[in-house]
């Protein structure tokens, strides 16, 4: 078992999920709060990684973050090293790649909160910020959990972006899915079996709470 890759994968998934929730919450709140061309365009851009081959996203990021572009050169000057082929670069790539998996459930969750409750809270004297914290967020809690779990598991399983942007540097950018690829390349099927089984078990364990929670919610609504 490549424990270094396991540790790196968990670190990457955790950092990505935390960052994603910080970005996705206000973004989803804004998108869910109305209509219009700007929101539609933003939602399209957010959804892009769902259909874009991960290697394409990885390639563009590699170019954008490298020394060939002005933003890339600025980043290199700021950080002292290129973002590509580093752990921080992987986090940036993963955040973009998993963005729709965090934003979409949140938009659906926020939109499902009955507008009557939001309006009543406002007429009772609650500011929009307080309405969001005290009514919208708690009622959308299942969507928050779904978003976090999907962002985490999706990051654990990503391959194309990581390979393009991070290369395959043990301890820095070599995640479990890359390790699995290497193990198969080396005909080390025993190790590949263990890595694949670990990723499979991990995904199942992560998804079970979402659906357990949903079925118990349905029961409490029907009761």
């Amino acid at each position: 078992m490549d424990f270094q890759a396991l540790w790196l994968t968990l670190r990457l998934a955790l950092s990505t999920t935390l960052l994603l929730m910080l970005i996705a919450l206000p973004l989803a709140r804004w998108i869910a709060s109305g209509n219009g061309p700007l929101r539609a365009l933003t939602q399209t851009l957010v959804a892009l990684p769902l259909v874009l081959p991960p290697t394409v996203l990885g390639y563009y990021l590699l170019v954008l973050l490298g020394p060939l572009t002005a933003p890339g050169r600025m980043l290199i000057r700021l950080l002292g090293h290129p973002l590509a082929f580093s752990f921080s670069g992987l986090v940036v790539g993963s955040v973009l790649y998993s963005l729709p998996f965090a934003v979409q459930p949140l938009i659906a969750g926020f939109r499902a909160v009955p507008v009557g409750l939001v309006e009543t809270a406002a007429t009772l004297g609650a500011s929009p910020g307080r309405v969001f914290r005290s009514i919208t967020l708690p009622l959308a809690k299942p969507s928050l959990i779904t978003a976090a779990v999907l962002a985490f598991t999706h990051t654990v399983g990503e391959f194309g972006v990581v390979l393009m942007l991070g290369g395959n540097i043990p301890g820095a950018t070599r995640t479990l899915s890359i390790a699995l690829y290497d193990q198969v390349q080396d005909f080390n099927y025993a190790a590949a079996n263990r890595t694949a089984a670990l990723l499979l078990i991990f995904s199942v364990v992560a998804l079970v709470p979402i659906y357990l929670r949903r079925s118990s919610d349905t029961r409490s609504v029907l009761a």
Binding site: P114, G116, L117, E119, T120, A121, A122, T123, L124, G125, A126, S127, P128, V131, S134, I135, P138, L139, S220, A223
Partner: protein, 244 residues
């Protein structure tokens, strides 16, 4: 009646023009008594007016003044946000916050006065969740929560619909008593003639988005009451005979 108008301006004056779907709203009125009722058939614009006063809907043009505050003046581009208006709206279907207990619902506007739960007969429900309440209980909490918000004007959208008569009478008494003490005006919406007479409130009769008449229940709805009473008498007569 200039005197009435002067007294009326103490409470609320409303002037609204709005087009929404098939409704062309063009309403203008002033409250001359502390409790006024918007009365009219479905689709006459009653609830729309209430939502505009609460700030949940902005009219095409208009002016709403809750002395001494201008809540809305489209010409002067004044449009106070709902949470700054002090006009809690108790909707027809109780919209209790489902994740909060009854007590937390009451406390949502920053606490409630000790007499409120007893007055609305909900002191035994404070630790319950809204899903555990009956329709009547939820309606009482709905009203109590709006009262607990220390309103400057209380807006009630068909607050007694679906409640049995004793419960309705009890709630009306509590609200009237609260109003006597607080002096807060109430504007409610109904299409129930009996309720209007029970409240003894000023009636603002709406028809197709316009104020058709305004005055005391006997003046505005006397004929309607007579008609209903005759229908009632005609309906009861044969049944009484048949049981003999």
């Amino acid at each position: 009646m200039p005197e009435d108008h002067q007294r009326g301006s103490r409470y609320l004056s409303v002037q609204l023009r709005h087009r929404i779907g098939t409704l062309a709203l063009d309403a203008q009125f002033e409250l001359t008594r502390p409790w006024a009722v918007l009365f009219g058939p479905s689709g006459s614009g009653k609830s729309t007016i209430l939502r505009m006063i609460a700030g949940l809907l902005t009219p095409d043009s208009g002016q709403i003044t809750l002395k001494p505050t201008t809540l809305l003046d489209t010409a002067a581009q004044v449009n106070l946000a709902p949470h700054l208006r002090g006009t809690p709206l108790a909707p027809q279907l109780p919209s209790l916050f489902p994740h909060l207990t009854v007590r937390q619902n009451l406390e949502y506007s920053g606490g409630y006065e000790a007499w409120v739960p007893a007055a609305f007969d909900i002191d035994g429900l404070l630790s319950k969740m809204p899903a555990q309440l009956s329709g009547g209980e939820a309606q009482r909490v709905n009203l109590a929560r709006a009262v607990a918000a220390r309103p400057r004007l209380l807006l009630l959208d068909e607050p007694f619909t679906g409640l049995d008569l004793p419960l309705r009478s009890g709630l009306i008494e509590h609200l009237l008593e609260w109003q006597r003490q607080s002096g807060v005006p109430i504007l409610s919406v109904t299409h129930d003639v009996a309720e209007v007479f029970q409240l003894g409130a000023e009636v603002i009769q709406l028809r197709d988005g316009r104020v058709a008449a305004q005055g005391l229940p006997a003046e505005i709805l006397g004929a309607e009451r007579e008609r209903l009473l005759k229908e009632l008498a005609a309906g009861i007569g044969p049944r009484v005979r048949s049981t003999e």
